[in-house]
Amino acid sequence: MFHVSTIQHPLTLVASPQEFYERVHPLIERAATNGAQLVVLPNYIGLMLLGVSVRAEQKSLALGELARAGNFATVSELLCTAAPGMRDFYLQIFSTLAKRARVFLAPGTVVEMHAGRLYNTAYLFTPEGTVVGSQKQTHRTSREIAWGLSQGEELSVWDIGDARIGFVVGTDVAHPEVARILALQNANLLIHPAAYPTYHDEYFLLDLWRDVQGNQIFGVQSCAGGEFRGKSAIYAPVEMTRAHTGILAQATSADGEEIIRASLDFDALQKNLDAYSVFDFFNYGFYARAFPSTYRGRV
């Protein structure tokens, strides 16, 4: 069994790296104490550190207001200026926390500069505090485009023991190509750092649940709370869950702080696939004829 925890956490600005550390440390520690081997945090958690660069009164992550408060012409300018410092703090703090808690840590995302471009990037740390890998978000919302974020152009899978992890970062979840490419690369666990603006009961149709069912693997979704919405959850193929919901564990509220945990049985996952694998029914010829040419006419 592989024990995972996902932390639902409100995103608000912090005034110092110390404050950030004190906000996330107890949660990660508590998840580890309860047996978690992998702990997942929400999308954009690194943006909380913007408050360190821009000394503003506000606690909200409304970036337009923050840019104005800091006398930046645009959000993009704000992010370009703050990104190097945010990334440094983010990497230092979460490396330390992974090492202290002795867990694999997927601490959401941080906005970073790479080769002169801005990306929203998820990181994965080992229990020794080293970076296993990072995944740039590959699709953007219109707001993220306005912020000046660029698209990642690679999708990677990392082995951490029984788990083979792929990231579905933020709005990548709206693009089933991402989870499919990761599953075809043999990912068996998708991690989805999320920060949804709204939520209601049918939102599982929009979130990681859909990708988990379509690819018959496990999924861990960590949602931002506070001014964001969404229920953090740990998903499995419907056949593997009680009442065939596809939900192993789920937050009770759509905005409060919570830690959710579940145990993933990869042998049972394999048995489930041995009994029925939807990938056995691929129409390879159809995909080969349609991809990528169908995209070319439309994008």
Binding site: E153, R164, F279, F281, F282, F291
Partner: protein
């Protein structure tokens, strides 16, 4: 071919052709009331999903009359676009007297298809024998009902044969003038269908005066690839139809068209067949769905049948103007470099790995 087999085959085919004859279907459908469907516009169309209960029939005329009653309900409910279920042809197993007798004596479909009492001896051969009659009955019924009601009708799926004898699970769409607009062969067979069905090669898009339609078949909706291609080709309405035993399990059913409309920004119409014979337990519910966020009430469901196992016709108005506005307000990013890098190569790498290992391994 042995003489006995030749005689049996010839007799069976003659009997089927007689029971499927168009004149009998047209005669049965004549002199009935045909309220005219309200004509769709570029901004709105009334749609219906027919949750049809399969019962064995003796001939094409009986089948057509059943479809007439359901289509009439749909038109009277405001529909100009009517969707029947997958395997709508199942009642036509009753055209084979031996099959009917076995089914009525409690045999499962699998047993019926293997039973020596049948003049043919395997599922593929029996389906091949039945296919021309099924095609003829579906085409005549679809054409007649569409033109008489002035509605667009997807009459369900039948078995289509090509010149090489390959069989396809194929849907038929008729225009309001009764003309066959086009067909769609199922692209992804289920395990049960693997023994006889050849998968289709492409997804067709049908450009109608009011919207673009596609009609992937049942299992095709388990694959986002199908509807992504439809969406990239501009589809507005996805016609869905199924014959499934687990459709009444909510989350299991939500893996299909309800998931796909979220990715596609399109309407979806899901018509389920109900069957409780020959060991089949196909059920609903049927529903009509929109992408979440398209409407003020935030739910994806525009209409749902009240029960999973009772014949029912549901209707809903599809607001195509609202769909266009929604799409304009929700412009999505895409990443051609990423797709070019991985698609379709990732499928081929996976296929090579599975071919080597024999099965998908995730541990």
């Amino acid at each position: 071919m042995a003489l006995k087999e030749f005689v049996l085959t010839t007799t069976t085919q003659a009997s089927l052709a007689y029971k499927a004859r168009g004149s009998a279907i047209r005669g049965a459908l004549a002199n009935r009331a045909y309220p005219r469907a309200s004509q769709p516009t570029r901004d709105r169309v009334g749609a219906a999903a027919v949750q049809m209960h399969s019962e064995l029939v003796d001939d094409g005329a009986q089948f057509a009359l059943k479809c007439y009653a359901l289509a009439r309900q749909a038109v009277e409910g405001g529909a100009a676009l009517i969707v029947f279920p997958e395997y709508a042809w199942l009642p036509l197993l009753g055209l084979l007297p031996a099959a009917r007798a076995l089914i009525e004596n409690g045999f499962t479909l699998e047993r019926v298809l293997q039973e020596p009492a049948m003049s043919e001896s395997s599922a593929p051969r029996i389906f091949q024998t039945l296919a021309p009659a099924i095609k003829s009955i579906l085409e005549t019924t679809g054409r007649e009902l569409a033109s008489r009601f002035g509605a667009y009708i997807m009459i369900g799926t039948g078995i289509a044969l090509n010149s090489a004898g390959q069989m396809f699970n194929t849907a038929y769409l008729f225009g309001a003038d009764g003309a066959l607009i086009g067909t769609q062969a199922k692209l992804h067979p289920t395990a049960r269908e693997m023994s006889w069905m050849t998968p289709g090669e492409d997804l067709n898009i049908f450009t109608l005066p009011f919207a673009k339609l596609a009609m992937p078949v049942c299992m095709d909706y388990s694959f986002w690839e199908t509807t992504r291609i439809a969406a990239l080709r501009g589809v507005d309405i996805l016609l869905g139809f199924s014959a499934e035993e687990n459709a009444n399990e909510f989350h299991l059913a939500m893996r299909g068209i309800a998931s796909r409309v979220q990715e596609s920004y399109a309407y979806g119409i899901q018509a389920c067949g109900i069957a409780n014979f020959a060991g089949l337990n196909f059920c609903g519910p049927s529903y009509i769905v929109a992408s979440i966020g398209m409407r003020r009430d935030t739910t994806t469901f525009l209409a749902r049948t009240r029960t999973p196992n009772v014949e029912e016709v549901i209707t809903a108005e599809l607001d195509l103007a609202r769909l266009r506005d929604f799409r304009a307000s929700q412009a999505r990013d895409s990443n051609l470099e990423l797709y070019r890098k991985y698609l379709p190569q990732a499928y081929e790498s996976y296929r090579a790995r599975v071919t080597q290992d024999g099965k998908r391994r995730v541990v």
